[in-house]
């Protein structure tokens, strides 16, 4: 994905159609609109219209099945914002979403820096480092679910064999540790795409700049701090924004590993919306939660971009 993602404003103005007679240019525009139409229709029907409908449904007490419903004003929003269960889901989303975004970016940058140091077999190592990213979060979580089983799971077996009987825990059933275990599993990666983006950016850092800094007596750490790091600002913006957007909607791992449990302890916002909307037949309430999630995603994207772009200019 490009750094342009969040700043469509900087798009260069488009050249108007070639001035070869007004009729011709009007015909050209009509044809271009026909080119756009099919994709636009599908996109509006599948994304824009249902999103707007969510706003409407969030003001109702619809159960998701019965065709009849009443408008209840902002009561759903009021209920959500005073619900402990929702705030718990929000806290978990913050811990898992922001936490994993930060941790995965650190891992990915470290791996990219290591790859960048290789002059031989870099392609081979880049490939094997990427391999774990081919396993989806869902599949990885499914395997972990069994490895973490209390009685016959690999983790507790190893701990018992090593003599740490007390360290064998009910990893996914213990209120105090379950969110930490989820965070660990989500971060158990080498970064995949994030690493590739960092590596591509590292390789675009001009070597002359690094050499010049070294000649001036800069240590390896200083070169990183004052030369490489500022040059990576753009990549950090892209990667952190992407990771945070993904983080706000963490669902697969929660669904597979804990189904939000024990109780509601490990729910995230995305899981909360799914559970309330479909499992508890409160579609209106779930829609309101979805709109809150949208507001949060939009705010994060805009703020993160503004902040990191201001930093980039200084760098």
């Amino acid at each position: 994905m490009t750094t342009e993602t969040a700043v469509p404003e900087t798009r260069t103005p488009l050249r108007p159609a070639a001035p070869r007679g007004r009729a011709r240019s009007r015909r050209q525009r009509a044809v271009m609109l026909l080119f756009i139409a099919p994709a636009l229709v599908v996109y509006v029907l599948m994304v824009i219209a249902p999103s707007l409908q969510s706003v409407q449904l969030s003001l109702t007490n619809w159960d998701g099945i019965n065709p009849a419903y009443d408008y209840v004003g902002l009561r759903n929003y009021q209920d959500i914002l005073t619900s402990d269960r929702f705030w718990n889901a929000t806290t978990n989303t913050l811990i898992l979403g922001l936490g994993s975004a930060a941790i995965i970016n650190v891992i990915a940058l470290a791996v990219a820096l290591m790859l960048d140091r290789l002059h031989r077999a870099q392609g081979f190592f880049r490939t094997i480092v990427y391999l774990p990213a081919l396993v989806s979060g869902f599949i990885a979580a499914t395997i972990w679910k069994y490895m973490l089983n209390f009685n016959f799971g690999a983790v507790n077996t190893v701990l018992r064999d090593l003599g740490f009987e007390g360290a064998a825990m009910d990893w996914l059933g213990d209120n105090d540790i379950v969110v930490g275990v989820l965070l660990f599993i989500i971060c158990f990666t080498l970064g995949g795409n994030t690493t590739l983006i960092y590596l591509a950016n590292l390789q675009s850092v001009p070597q002359e700049l690094v050499e010049a800094a070294k000649i001036d007596g800069a240590s390896g750490r200083q070169v990183f701090r004052y030369v490489t790091w500022p040059m990576l600002a753009g990549a950090v913006t892209v990667n952190m924004t992407l990771a945070m957007i993904a983080g706000w909607t963490i669902f697969d791992q929660v669904m597979v590993l804990t189904a939000g449990g024990p109780g509601f302890i490990s729910e995230t916002m995305a899981f909360f919306i799914y559970k309330v909307g479909f499992g508890e037949y409160r579609a209106g309430y779930g829609s309101a939660a979805a709109i809150v999630l949208f507001a949060v995603v939009m705010a994060t994207t805009v703020l993160a971009n503004r902040y990191m772009r201001s930093r980039e200019v200084q760098g």
Binding site: M1, T2, T5, P8, T12, L14, P16, R29, M32, L33, F35, I36, P38, A39, L40, V42, Y43, M46, V47, I48, A49, P50, S51, M114, L118, A121, F125, R126, T127, I128, V129, Y130, L131, P132, L134, V135, S136, G137, F138, I139, T142, I143, W144, Y146, N151, F152, G153, T157, V158, L190, L196, I197, W248, M255, A270, Y274, F278, A290, L293, F294
Partner: protein, 285 residues
């Protein structure tokens, strides 16, 4: 001349550093791959073997579990469904998105800018926001729990990223070639498919591969749109097995391995395009 020994020394030191880096990376890859390796080993073992000695190694390369997975569950059908959803979505994306991006770029003016922004806004709309109304609409028009519904929902979700990718690429494609073709009498549609589309190959290969992997790996959308009247996709089928066959670990491990194989095959076949694709535009100029 006098600098020569020094340079050689430097190169040797570099090699030592590289060796350490290689070793560290290898260890990291092994550690992160452990769950997959563990699942692969256990896909060759029986339930009794797994629970008796969870860390034991397989005694042979028995394919019993693989055969049983297809005989006793509808995993085969789920596999076919996943292929149809992934392939169908990709074909439709190719038919719609490049042409639309080209239209946006060549339309020009204020309307083009607004259409572009409308598409890009989709990048900020999480699936959860459109999920509940989409399920009820699909129900109303009788498409709920069909593969068509999943394909349509995926199309909408992937369009934004596609428009972003193609628009930024088409900007760099010269108009002169198209104009020459048009003077030769070729219509706009033919000009697009025979002249412009082939020039977009680099971005097309990147887009197709990135989308193919994310479509294959998706879990949430098919989970929501396919109920028990359908075999689901591989991920949905696996999640149902986790719920129903709690005592058949060996089948879960086997299914997980089978779900990974196509991703790895795809990556192995198109690795070159894939890494190039991830780097397209990722470097700030």
């Amino acid at each position: 001349m006098s600098a020569k020994p020094k340079r050689r020394k430097e190169r040797r030191r570099l090699t030592a550093g590289e060796a350490v880096v290689m070793a560290v990376l290898a260890v990291l890859v092994l550690a992160v791959s452990f769950p997959v390796v563990y699942a692969l080993l256990n896909s060759f073992r029986s339930y009794a073997e797994i629970t008796k000695d969870p860390m034991g190694l397989p005694t042979g390369l028995s394919l019993d579990n693989y055969a049983r997975l297809f005989q006793t569950t509808d995993y085969g059908e789920a596999l076919l469904n996943t292929v149809i959803i992934t392939g169908g979505t990709l074909v439709l994306l190719m038919a719609l998105v490049p042409m639309a991006a080209y239209g946006i770029e060549r339309l020009g003016g204020r309307s083009s800018r607004w259409i572009y922004l409308l598409f890009i806004a989709g990048l900020m709309i999480p699936f959860q926001v459109r999920m509940i109304p989409l399920v009820s609409s699909m129900n109303q028009i009788g498409l709920y729990s069909t593969l068509t519904s999943v394909i349509l929902v995926h199309l909408g979700g992937a369009a934004s990223f596609g428009i972003l990718l193609y628009c930024s690429f088409i900007k760099g494609v010269p108009r002169e070639v198209e104009e020459a073709a048009e003077m030769d009498g070729a219509g706009k549609l033919r000009t697009f498919w025979s002249i412009v589309f082939p020039m977009l190959l680099p971005v097309t290969s990147a887009f197709v591969i990135i989308q193919a992997l994310s479509l294959w790996n998706d879990f949430f959308i098919p989970l929501v749109f396919l109920d028990s009247s359908s075999a689901g996709t591989v991920n949905v089928a696996l999640s149902r097995m986790v719920g129903l066959l709690t005592s058949q670990w060996e089948l879960i491990y086997t299914g997980a391995i089978l779900a990974i194989i196509p991703s790895v095959a795809l990556f192995a076949a198109f690795q070159r395009y894939f890494i190039k694709g991830m780097s397209i535009g990722a470097v700030k100029g």
